[in-house]
Amino acid sequence: MSETAIRKCPRCGGELPGGPSGDICPRCAAALLQATQTEMSDGPTRRSFTPPSLAELAPLFPQLEVLELLGCGGMGAVYKARQKELERIAALKILPHDVGADSAFAERFSREAKALARLNHPGIVTIYDFGRANGRYYLLMEFVDGVSLGKLLEGGRVSPREALAIVPQICDALQYAHDQGIIHRDIKPENILLDRRGRAKVADFGLAKLMGHVSEPRAESGSAAKPAALTDAGKVMGTPAYMAPEQAEHPAAVDHRADIYALGVVLYQMLTGELPAKRIEPPSSKVQVDVRLDEIVLRALEKEPARRYQHVSQVKTAVETILQTPKSGAPEHPTRTAGALRWRRDHVAHVLLAAAVLVALALFPGSPWGRWVLRQVGHARGTTQIPAAPRQLSAIAARKGDIGVYLSCLGLVESSNSVTFSIAEDYVQPMFKKFDAGQPLPVVAYNRQATEEFGRGALSGLDNQIDPATGTLKCTAKLVPEHAELMLRGLFLNIRLRLETKHDVTIVPAQAIQRDSEGTFVWVITPDQKVTLRRVTVGAIGPREPAQDQQGSRAQEVQDFGNSWAEIERGLLPGEVIVTQPFKNLIEGQQAHFNLEKAGD
């Protein structure tokens, strides 16, 4: 194999970059990386394609601001976009180029898309618009801010409770579509999106049919010389693992019961973390779940459509029955606890080890928040330490809503009123060792955006409660009752914790604040300080005795950090440093003045 001779990619014709990446073309590698797992399988799926760049799309969609590529698969590429007029975020799906090769496609696309656009259900991703731009078919859809179930399942199975929370929502959406005579045909975890509130939304309705034209064998039966891509697609469209047997055999004869089969596969996968084998093992034989779930799964997975549930609503009813009636015979609680423990054992070491510390992240220059610059340094007992490096460069700014220390970690709902989560020791060490180990540390659990509070608890015994086996610290927080139900229903696995410090009056010793040569003020919070702030202003005030330069001495430069703080408390941690932007107009002899208002004032 000659490495140096080939400079162009044989596949896409792009130039090869040379160097350590050798003879792999970056564009093609990107396409391969973007391809979904489905395409990786050797099933009859459409090949991946190189998604158009943002620059290529911009002139095609003047009404949109295409923001970023969200993903790319056999069904096309999806971008996050903003509708300029409506100021609404939407998802733009560009279908692969080769679908348009079929002359009958335009008509079919228009017909199908119209039908899909009529679907209006909270559990279905809404189609806003569709059409063709420069030969490329596109769909403009509702943007779902969250994750796909597929992404979630990459980490293994989800808890039975979560699975049962998701399934009825999918059932509702599917039943609605089936009532309108629309079959999804490609139900799979990747097409089930979960928003930040834990609501499920089904995406890509009917796209499989649209792109594979499974229901219209007439259009191609007579044609002997079909383009290769169409032959591929014309046979069967869908994702093999989730496809009902009849869908593979008689794609044209598929009815809504194929969706029920696929839903069965999804449920099986959620419960066991695996796809059903040829000879289906009941979920309860693989993992500890309510045996009544076996019946639901196995019936949905019947090979013969007539033996399956005949309507998705029946699946919903069956699932809800399990949710509402505790398992007869065996006591329910121990089962659940055992399941939860097992879940924890299996996953804590991996998933929960992933607990992460999130400290005030992005820098927004220009905003008051950008000027409120916090830095984390080591202990600064006694004297203040001002690193020599320029502040602005290494600065991490607090953003609105970021309060104190956040831990982003995964939680497990143990019961209807508490949530358990673990924090990796790695993160406990640097962050919490600063606190007195003997004192419990109050924490507040939030949803991901830290807008809703879900629970309160305490971290205690930081030194001795770290489980040496998993390296994690376990914490339990009581759920706020009004959110408990939401929490159980949804997937509030990603929790932010806020460490609360005491509401002490803050007195900043003058010597704690220093000014460096650039005019920046630095205040290091010493370990013995407990600081809670509501409103902070930092100002430079002119000298009492006016100096010769009237203009300069009268100039006051006040940086007000208070505006956005009104509704939040700001807990400062020992060792944190408040750094201001340089006061440009400050003249020699002026004083710096930190005005701190106590929380609750």
Binding site: R11, S21, L69, A354, Q376
Partner: protein, 251 residues
């Protein structure tokens, strides 16, 4: 080398979870001067020096200056007092390095350069001739230093993935198989001559299919693994992955 350690522990295929990585080792280390921490950082630097060189070069420095500066930068980065500035908030290794380099270029290079001329130590050795050859092929006319840096970063990641694929297939037979399959790693589905591959490898067509499928899966898995080694927390993996893919897709 610690790279091979992490590989060995990841032989089981589905492992999308975050493991303790080189970069998080650096970030989490309380004692930044500990040998593990220094080792982890050095491993990272050893792997990702070229994007930095390309950045320096495209910022307008001559090849000799760029070599001095890159080495001087690493010398300082690997020194203890610089590591003190490594903080959990720094996030991605990619952005950390770039930021540190910019700061270095702005303020400290004169001093470091003087030290080096005076016999200062160079902690990291790299192939400057190769670097310059690569840089000549970089699109300095259309990309700015930041873009060149990101592009080279992404390509370096890609190279790292390929070399890990190679070490996966270190046996003679496996190496032959890999050399052949790698040609089709990114090929379109319909265009892969499975029959021909099978004949060359003296196996069945089905087995060739499976082998290529596995190779692709492993490629993706390794990519994620390599990326996860350069971020500080699991939640960043996805985003960084997406970013790197977007850089790669620009070619």
């Amino acid at each position: 080398m610690s790279v091979s350690e992490s590989k060995d522990s990841n032989q089981t295929p589905p492992r999308p979870l975050f493991v303790t990585t080189q970069w998080s080792v650096v970030l989490a280390a309380k004692d930044k001067s500990s040998p593990e921490c220094a080792q982890a950082l050095e491993t990272l630097c050893q792997a990702y020096w070229y994007p930095l060189y390309a950045f320096v070069r495209s910022s307008g420095y001559s090849p000799p200056d760029a070599q001095d500066l890159t080495q001087g930068f690493f010398a300082q980065l690997l020194a203890k007092d610089f590591l003190r500035l490594v903080e959990p908030e720094k996030g991605r290794f990619r952005t950390f390095l770039k930021m540190a380099l910019k700061r270095f270029l702005a303020h400290e290079w004169e001093r470091v350069r003087a030290e080096k001329r005076g016999g200062g130590q160079v902690c990291l050795s790299f192939d400057t001739a190769m670097a310059e050859e690569l840089f000549q092929g970089d699109r300095t006319d259309t990309l700015d230093p930041d873009q060149i840096y990101d592009r080279r970063w992404a390509l370096t990641l890609l190279g790292e993935v390929l070399s890990r694929l190679d070490s996966d297939h270190s046996g003679a037979v496996k190496a032959t198989e890999l050399a052949l399959l790698k040609l089709y790693l990114t090929s379109e589905r319909g265009s892969i001559p499975y029959a021909q591959i099978a004949a060359t490898l003296q196996t069945t067509e089905g087995a060739a299919r499976v082998a290529l499928h596995r190779l692709r899966r492993r490629f993706r898995q390794l990519f994620r693994e390599v990326i996860s080694e350069t971020v500080s927390m699991p939640s960043e993996v996805e985003e960084e992955l997406r970013y790197v893919i977007s850089v790669l897709s620009r070619g």
